[in-house]
């Protein structure tokens, strides 16, 4: 039977259609199965609680107690001012900062001082009980300013008392919970006619109005600049110059200037090498027409001595040859171009050194003239005094020593006359030096030898008389661990000083 063309076409068409249907079905079934399988798998996956107890592993799950001190001290930096009945003295003498007006622990007042003392010692004009510490006094405008700490209230304070009688005039306090750590206080406020700037034990800077004691501004170096509080709490005393306070936080910035009136930061010196804050205080110095601030900072791993411009904080010179873990005595300027350094905490090779600055093509270079171990000379806490081209200080053998400017020891006071870590200062050509226990000795400064003039036990059962001395108008303020006393060291016979 012959197929017509129509049949052929029809048959072909139906064959094609059959194939398409078959292909469609063949494709459709697996697709449906795959889709169903996928949906089923997703459903199964979602329905199974494969990880039933996922818990975040976070700090604090060991229930370690929170460190209490930072939290408790993280309160707003406010304090309170309390006024008392004391009156400022009429005495005009001034010792406005740590190491006095000239940063040299030498009084420049013309007041003649006694060469000898009665058997009972110089008269004690007044005394003041304090919390444990080594904070020395600043004297200005007839007032005595000092840092104090009350363990009962856990309050740190800036106290203002009369130079006449020690009666309290005002006290500015703020909560600062710290533990005993060889005393609580060890800084001296810096006072001008307008401002009092004080550094607290945990590096809190407070600026008060000198006349009223009212708060102008405050700064928390730990919180704001990541300052690491030095061991035993800081003893850096603020430097105030031309309405600016210069600080060395040693955290996120090495040195900074703050406007005293507003608290506004004027400049900051970067701290790329991460020098830590030390117990050192800044020293102003001028060399080759440039005014700068000298700071001994850092630690054994990163540290040294640096000079930064007073204008903008830029680093003018630096050396890393004086890297100490415990850096306490300040640099002593010797002439216009040298700095005497000393130390005594353990690193016996770093006893003393002399840095020399030189200028070359507008650049300041620094070199080391000499460096000697503590067996030659070293001082743990007190800064030696440069007087008439000789250095006077108590060495690691506890003896008073005199050095020439080449680092040669000219004399020592002998093991019979030792002074421990006690404070000392110079006034009216006389060296006042107190030992650990409160025995005050008057010494004639001379390169010829140890020449004691007078001696008196000014503290009965004195303990750790390490606080820096202050003197104004013939009144010497010294302290032991818990007492501050004001001594009348002026000459009863005006002009009977040993200076001829």
């Amino acid at each position: 039977m012959l197929q017509t063309g129509q049949d052929v076409v029809k048959g072909t068409f139906s064959h094609i259609m059959d194939n398409r249907i078959r292909i469609s079905i063949a494709l459709f079934i697996p697709l449906v199965l795959m889709a169903g399988g996928s949906l089923g798998t997703i459903h199964l996956w979602k329905s199974i609680h494969a990880v039933p107890d996922v818990e975040a592993r976070l700090p604090g799950q060991d229930e370690r107690p929170a460190q209490s001190l930072p939290t408790e001290n993280a309160k707003p930096l406010t304090g309170k001012l309390v006024r008392f009945s004391g009156k400022a003295s009429e005495l005009a003498g001034s010792w406005p900062r740590f190491r006095g007006p000239g940063y040299d622990a030498v009084s420049s007042e013309p007041t003649p001082l006694a060469v000898t003392w009665p058997e009972t010692g110089p008269a004690v004009l007044w005394s003041l009980d304090t919390g444990e510490g080594f904070a020395g006094a600043a004297i200005h405008g007839g007032c005595v300013y000092l840092m104090d700490y009350d363990r009962d209230t856990t309050e740190e304070s800036i106290r203002c008392v009369s130079l006449d009688n020690g009666e309290e005039i005002w006290r500015y306090t703020y909560v600062n919970k710290i533990k005993r750590n060889h005393g609580m206080t060890r800084t001296v406020p810096t006072v001008t006619d307008d401002y009092i700037v004080a550094m607290g034990s945990l590096c809190r800077v407070t600026c008060l109005n000198t006349r009223t004691g009212e708060l102008l501004w405050t700064l928390d170096l730990v919180k704001d600049y990541d300052t690491k509080v030095p061991l035993w709490y800081t003893s850096q005393c603020p430097l105030v110059e031309n309405g600016k306070v210069i600080l060395a936080p040693g955290g996120s910035c090495l040195i900074m200037a703050v406007d005293c009136g507003t608290g506004k930061v004027l400049w900051e010196t970067p701290n790329p090498d991460h020098w830590d804050m030390t117990h050192n205080s800044l020293l102003p110095m001028t060399f080759a027409g440039k005014h700068f601030y000298v700071y001994c900072g850092g630690s054994t791993s990163a540290g040294g001595v640096v000079g930064v411009s007073a204008e903008d904080g830029s680093v003018l010179w630096r050396t890393d040859e004086w890297r100490l873990r415990t850096n306490v005595p300040m640099p002593v300027p010797v002439g216009d171009d040298r700095l005497f350094l000393t130390a005594g905490y353990g690193q016996t090779q770093f006893g003393c050194a002399m840095l020399k600055l030189t200028e070359q093509e507008g650049r300041i270079d620094v070199s080391t003239e000499f460096m000697a171990g503590t067996d030659v000379f070293g001082s743990m806490q007190q800064t030696p005094i440069l007087y008439e081209d000789h250095l006077y200080g108590v060495g690691m053998d506890n003896q008073l020593a005199c050095l020439d400017l080449t680092g040669q020891v000219l004399w020592r006071s002998s093991s019979v006359h030792t002074f421990g870590y006690g404070a000392y200062m110079m006034a009216d050509n006389k060296l006042f030096v107190i030992d650990d226990d409160g025995l005050l000795t008057l010494v004639k400064p001379s390169p010829d030898g140890y020449q004691p003039l007078a001696q008196a036990e000014v503290f009965k059962e004195g303990v750790e008389c390490w606080g820096p001395m202050a003197m104004a108008s013939g009144r010497l303020i010294v302290r032991d661990l818990t007492r501050v006393i004001c001594l009348d060291v002026g000459s009863r016979d005006q002009g009977s000083g040993i200076r001829d």
Partner: protein, 347 residues
């Protein structure tokens, strides 16, 4: 021709598939076998890398080992010190053995009970820690006296002596006992004190060393806190140094540093157990360099095998320094002393 070619291709393909399957099978078997023998199959997150822990930068090593190795002959060697004459005193077992610097045994000091530590006074009297008390030998090395016991829990692990006082580290009571030279207890310290801002000495096991440093302060290891604490001879807490950590400047492990000694320049030598390292710090506790690591000490960093608490805490180092600054390291596991001398530098 096309058919022949097609047949050939099919056969080749089938052959390749079969060969591939065989290859994969063999590879899998080898892999499984290999895995069974050498690896747990755990990823890197589950592995503890020992080699990186033991690595010490060669540039940090400041000392060289001298060829001399002193064999103490003890089963339990515990402590070493060097007197001003250079004689090496080793406390171990029930005695103290005295060696010349060349390693020859000179004499043996005997007294009842296990000897834990020894120190020699400038006047040549020898003080021996006998677990719970101190035995005193005269300059003639004859037993003079035994001081009273500090109690049955006492474990005296270190002694230091001045012209007027003897300091004993009592690990059992976690305190420093200060004696006068007649054996009277003058004071004790080491407890936590809020007044002094001191958080207390922690002594988890009997590794508790102390030394008198050149600044007149006592340096006491605080092993539980992985640091060294400074005290005045009267017991006033001064300051700490040292920090926990595996890094070379830190103290790692349990109860470290296990030993401490003073260098002639006022610096300190420390020894650590576990990850055995002997290091030098300056007089303020700043890290200076390495005396010896596991390689120089000829010890392997490997997990300790022990069954009892005493066994698990055993095998530490003790260190001593002679007047020339050479460092004597007592390996208590092998009862040997190795001597290290400061490397000479060209500059």
């Amino acid at each position: 021709m096309r058919n022949m070619t097609g047949a050939t291709k099919s056969e080749v393909l089938i052959g390749l598939v079969i060969a591939g399957a065989i290859g994969v099978g063999v590879w899998s078997l080898v892999l499984i076998e290999h895995k069974d023998q050498a690896s747990s199959g755990l990823g890197a997150a589950y592995q503890y890398d020992v080699s990186s822990l033991a690595y010490i930068d060669p540039d940090l090593i400041l000392y060289d080992a001298l060829p001399l190795v002193i064999e103490t002959g003890y089963l339990n060697a515990r402590s070493v010190c060097v007197d001003h004459r250079g004689q090496v005193f080793v406390a171990g077992d029930q005695t103290v053995r005295v060696f010349k610097q060349d390693g020859n045994l000179i004499r043996t000091l005997m007294s009842p009970g296990p000897s834990y530590c020894v120190t020699v006074a400038p006047d040549d009297r020898v003080f021996v820690g006998k677990k719970d008390h101190v035995d005193v030998f005269g300059p003639d090395y004859k037993l003079e006296t035994a001081w009273p016991s500090l109690g049955q829990d006492a474990v005296i692990t270190s002694l230091a002596v001045t012209g007027t006082q003897v300091f004993a580290a009592d690990a059992g009571h976690r305190e420093v006992v200060v004696y006068d030279l007649t054996g009277q207890v003058v004071t004790r310290f080491g407890q936590a004190s809020d007044d002094q801002g001191f958080d207390g000495i922690i002594v988890p096991s009997a590794y508790f060393d102390l030394v008198l440093s050149q600044d007149g302060l006592l340096r006491v290891v605080n092993p539980g806190r992985l640091r060294v604490d400074a005290f005045t001879p009267e017991g006033q807490y001064e300051f700490p140094w040292g920090k926990p950590g595996n890094d070379i400047a830190g103290f790692c492990g349990c109860c470290n540093p296990c030993a401490l000694a003073v260098l002639p320049d006022g610096g300190f030598v420390t020894a650590e157990k576990g990850l055995m390292r002997v290091k030098v710090y300056n007089s303020d506790g700043g890290f200076e360099g390495v005396v010896a690591g596991p390689v120089e000490l000829q010890v392997r960093i490997e997990p300790k095998i022990c069954r009892t608490p005493d066994e698990c805490r055993a095998n530490a180092l003790d260190v001593a320094v002679d007047q020339a600054g050479d460092i004597y390291v007592l390996d208590t596991e092998h009862a040997q002393i190795r001597v290290f001398s400061k490397r000479k530098t060209n500059d």
